[in-house]
């Protein structure tokens, strides 16, 4: 009965209107903020296709330079590599100590045949000397034999090399040093492809009052002297019963990047990174609760420099630093089950650094982890997201690295 009376009264006045004078609009319009001269989004005029084209071109150029660089480095090493394989008992190893052993074996292999000839002559001469010195004990004899043999061996190597190959020993050693360096570089000369996932740590929650605008303050003619004692005259005034809560979840990224070696210790990496960002907003406006979920999708182009600091067997420790540009390709805002139109975020720039550790399961494939830190610059947009509220962000990137030797 009571509720029915309320409903009837509400319905009775549901569409009831009262006239307003014509001049009221002019008064309202005069108090509205003037539209700005510049177009709202004049700075974001680069179309999406242009961004993708630029990204693809960039990756192509970097990859091309890397492959060209790699090819030029590879050429002189080819004959030596063949020689090493011939002389070595085991297939070429990727580790430095293994390389050293292989090179030693190669040298022995090169000099094996002439040495036997020299040893034969040397043996006769030494035996004559031993016979002449009857008082020497056997150990001293053997020692002297070995020392002389070593001297003669070196001499015979020089001679045999000069005679048989037309090269001096210095030239050979110099060439070997060069080739050894090339083999050391082989590890980093491989073009690496990385497939990874990354996320930041923790999520950000903010709960704020809603400030009353200056215009509203003026409208209400609020006497600040009546506010709480000790409150400054210019202190902000919050709207009664208005509250805003923002929850920004940690970003999640998936990427595919390529490593291009630029020297024995340094390499460049770039590629494409997808980043997913989600934020929840809860606005309490005078007992009305508005909930909004915002999902931002970014495609990013990273450019990093890696310094390979240390390696042992299949383990590789390195440091990496660089910058990244993330382009917001899609934004989805849902409130009350309805999708709301919203402008995309501006380009998000960031810089970062990380320490990386990689373990090669097989020579062609490694797993790696990169704990690092990133700083996101304020892009000046009005989009509230994780990057705005937590610009410095610790993250962990884990992934697979494919070492391809073209």
């Amino acid at each position: 009965m009571k509720d029915e009376w309320i409903k009837k009264l509400r319905d009775q006045l549901a569409d009831y209107e009262e006239p307003v004078p014509d001049e009221l609009w002019a008064k309202i319009e005069a108090r509205l903020p003037k539209p700005t001269e510049a177009p709202k989004h004049a700075v974001r005029t680069i179309p999406l296709w242009a961004k993708w084209t630029a990204a693809a071109s960039f990756i192509g150029i970097i990859t091309g330079i890397g492959i060209l660089n790699w090819s030029q480095e590879e050429k002189p090493s080819a004959p030596f590599t063949a020689e090493v394989k011939k002389g070595s008992k085991t297939p070429m190893k990727s580790e430095e100590n293994a390389v050293d052993e292989t090179i030693s074996e190669a040298i022995v292999s090169q000099t094996d045949k002439p040495m036997k000839t020299v040893r034969g002559i040397d043996k006769i001469e030494t035996f004559d000397e031993i016979k002449a010195d009857e008082g020497n004990i056997a150990i001293a004899e053997n020692k002297a034999i070995e020392e002389e043999r070593a001297v003669e061996e070196k001499k015979s190597i020089e001679e045999s090399q000069t005679i048989e190959q037309g090269k001096t020993i210095e030239a050979v050693l110099k060439e070997q040093d060069k080739e050894m360096a090339a083999i050391r570089n082989t590890r980093h000369s491989k073009v690496g492809f990385n497939l990874y996932a990354s996320n930041g740590f923790g999520h950000q929650t903010n709960k704020n009052g809603v400030l009353m605008s200056q215009q509203m303050l003026d409208n209400y003619k609020i006497d600040r002297n009546l506010t709480t004692a000790g409150t400054r005259a210019d202190s902000p005034v919050y709207l009664y019963n208005y509250e805003e809560k923002q929850e920004h979840y940690q970003p999640i990224s998936f990427g595919l990047t390529a490593n291009i070696p630029i020297s024995s210790a340094f390499s460049l990496s770039s590629g494409v990174v997808y980043t997913h960002l989600r934020s929840d907003f809860t606005n309490v406006a005078d007992y009305l609760v508005y909930q909004k979920q915002m999902t931002l999708h970014y495609i990013g182009i990273p450019l990093n420099v890696q310094y390979h600091a240390w390696q042992w067997h299949g383990l590789n420790v390195y440091a990496t630093a660089g910058a990244q540009a993330d382009f917001n390709v899609k934004v989805r805002v849902v409130t009350g089950g309805t999708e709301v139109k919203m402008d995309k975020d501006r380009t998000q720039w960031s810089v970062g650094g990380a320490l990386g550790i990689q373990y090669d399961i097989i020579p062609q494939l490694g797993v790696y982890a990169e704990p690092g830190i990133k700083y996101y610059f304020d892009n000046g947009s009005h989009v509230h997201n994780y990057f705005k509220y937590k610009p410095t962000n610790f993250n962990l990137q884990v992934g697979l690295r494919l070492n391809i030797k073209p």
Binding site: L13, I28, E29, R31, L32, M216, A285, Y287, T335, G336
Partner: protein, 181 residues
Amino acid sequence: MQETERQLIDAIQGGDREALRRLYNRFSRYAMAVARRYVVEHEDALDVVQDSFVNILSCIGSFDYRGEGSLKAWVTRIVTNEAIDWVKSHEGIVLTDEIPDETDENVPDVEEAPPEIMSTLIRQLPVGCRTVLNLHVFEELTHKDIARKLGISEKTSASQFAYAKKLLADMIKEYLNSQRI
């Protein structure tokens, strides 16, 4: 065919300045009717509507569309808040301790009085019970919410509503009697 609320919001948020005027034309008379339920004087109600639309049109960029009707509800809520703030600052919410008799059995049918008369009768109620009645009937707030909003007890809100209902019933009867003469 009338522009939908969604189309109107899209136009405004897309930078169409004329759309602001269309929003005003669409809701200003309804806003005036809402303001007049709270504020007795016509000129004062006009001030409330003016302030309300300045805020509505200034903040429309942050409005979250939640389906057809959500814009009207948002406009109504802002006008209501402006009106209550005006009443608080100019009249003050004065509450009476009078506890009404049971009136349910003698309440006349509100549909017997036309809307403009009902609006006039409501504004003739004492300010305290008028505010509570408006919030409870038209804003559909519970007495608990009204108590929080006005800084009174839940019981006081309920008794103020009953008092408003009794007074309104008496006024409707009086109006109907005057029509029969």
